[in-house]
Homo-oligomer: 166 residues x 4
């Protein structure tokens, strides 16, 4: 596991599972925490079968003051099917309780949304794990094993704790 | 397993995975075959996790001239999320190749669609199995075990064969 | 599914889960019932993961007066590990309640036991399904899908019922 | 997760998957590494279904110079079934490649073997995780989630690395 670069800030049109009067979540504002970003599409079978359940399990297993799970809905196909109203129903039915941002639509009618483009993601589901300094420590397309994901999270939490104590 | 009554004909607004110039499928027209009807909603987690994969497996395992699998999209909640365009994307992504009918919306703004109402279905997924005489031989809400479903299908296929040979 | 030949009678040294004072089970005595024979070795991973749970599920799902599940322990390797005392502990721990016969050791020190040899089985787990006339209707090495196994059993039960009623 | 006490040294009668001419593994000799001890019985269904696959996955996922997986066969029932020859066949069939110690039989005919008794283990499978200082950091009876186990291992590896660098 090599340490990586920071990501440019996400571009999100709407946040779900986030209080309307609160300042929008930002990568910058999450510095100091380990951040798990699950990028998905609600009609992507691999996201539904593996990615979403894993993100929910992470959200339940770790303390929210030290680790933040964020969903990012990066729609690059079937745009007229995966609308905000559809995503809201999906989040309700699948009992997702962490914040989910809707990636900003691509400029000039491009199908790839803006954050997905800026981060050069290659598909869904992609799991991104950032350490407390905001550096990418995992960028994984497809199904990621729980054991491996857990090990990365445990290491990053220990690193963060160590830095906080220094 | 007791033999049951015939169902009233379905009311379908649109058929997907069905040639546009062909006569619409009907229960009446399927007499002589064993019929498996998987009623579902595309945003129902149990349907996606269990019902759809089982219906696809049945579709692949049995000869189409003796057994017909039919999907029926019976939307009773989140109507503005589970539209035709969304269902088309879902069918594409989940690689469903059997015909899927969209149940006719409830009269006078009722949330329960017409076929679901007429058949008194209690939720999704519901698996209905009809014998070659059109009688309901299984009506199961929730996850149904493959072993049990297979046994019913095997018996009904044998009954149909026996009647055809008589 | 083609109809097959009858099997020569099994050669069993000891029956477990069978009353000691009862006549030993025989293929001949089971005529009239559908018979499911799960041949296995207690230290075969595929048997433990798939074959045994499937045989237990069949045993629970079907009426014992119409379908008989029989285990046959066909040890062809690690003979000194898979002894009768070990098999008894295995049957207890895995809560197997159908009769299990221990295949008769190979003649003249041959590793393949006698029934396995006579039936020309190629490994474990092998699932054999016989119809009510004693004919082999499935002979499957490895993991067999529940849906397919259920369909065969349903068909054979219907055939048996039809013959009994004739 | 609280830090715990060190364990008394194990009492092992025979090591499998360990070179005969090498010094026997000891807790003392493993100081400096994270140690994962999977205590099991070869005829315990939960061990076979969950514990052994998890221990194998840990063995494959982490660097052996920083983390050591050890199996401990703690037989407290069916002693005449789970013999050394049976365990050797089991290890071969289940492709276990980490060292496995056979716990020393209980004194004066007691069914609980000596290490299991000394460590006050309550059953199988029990997963024990020790940090590089030999302190117990997890003591879990039954199925343990991969995500949680991974997180503990990641944290302990980070702690060990930090201490080694200090």
């Amino acid at each position: 596991m090599t340490s990586g670069h920071a990501l440019p800030e996400w571009s999100v049109q709407t946040w779900l599972n986030w209080p309307g009067d609160a300042a929008a979540p930002s990568l910058d504002g999450l510095r100091g925490k380990v951040v798990v970003i699950h990028t998905f599409q609600m009609l992507c079978p691999g996201c539904v079968a593996h990615g979403i359940p894993q993100a929910k399990a992470i959200h339940q297993a770790f303390p929210p003051d030290r680790l933040q799970v964020v969903g990012l809905h990066t729609v690059f196909e079937h745009h007229d099917a995966m609308t905000e109203v559809a995503l809201r129903a999906f989040i309700h039915e699948y009992r997702i309780h962490f914040p989910v941002g809707m990636d900003m639509p691509g400029l000039q009618g491009q199908p790839i949304p803006q954050t997905m483009q800026a981060w050069r993601l290659e598909g869904t589901p992609t799991l991104l794990i950032l350490d407390d300094l905001g550096r990418v420590r995992l960028n994984h397309l497809g199904q990621a094993e729980d054991l491996r994901v857990g090990a990365i999270l445990g290491q990053l939490l220990a690193e963060a704790q160590h830095r906080a104590a220094a």
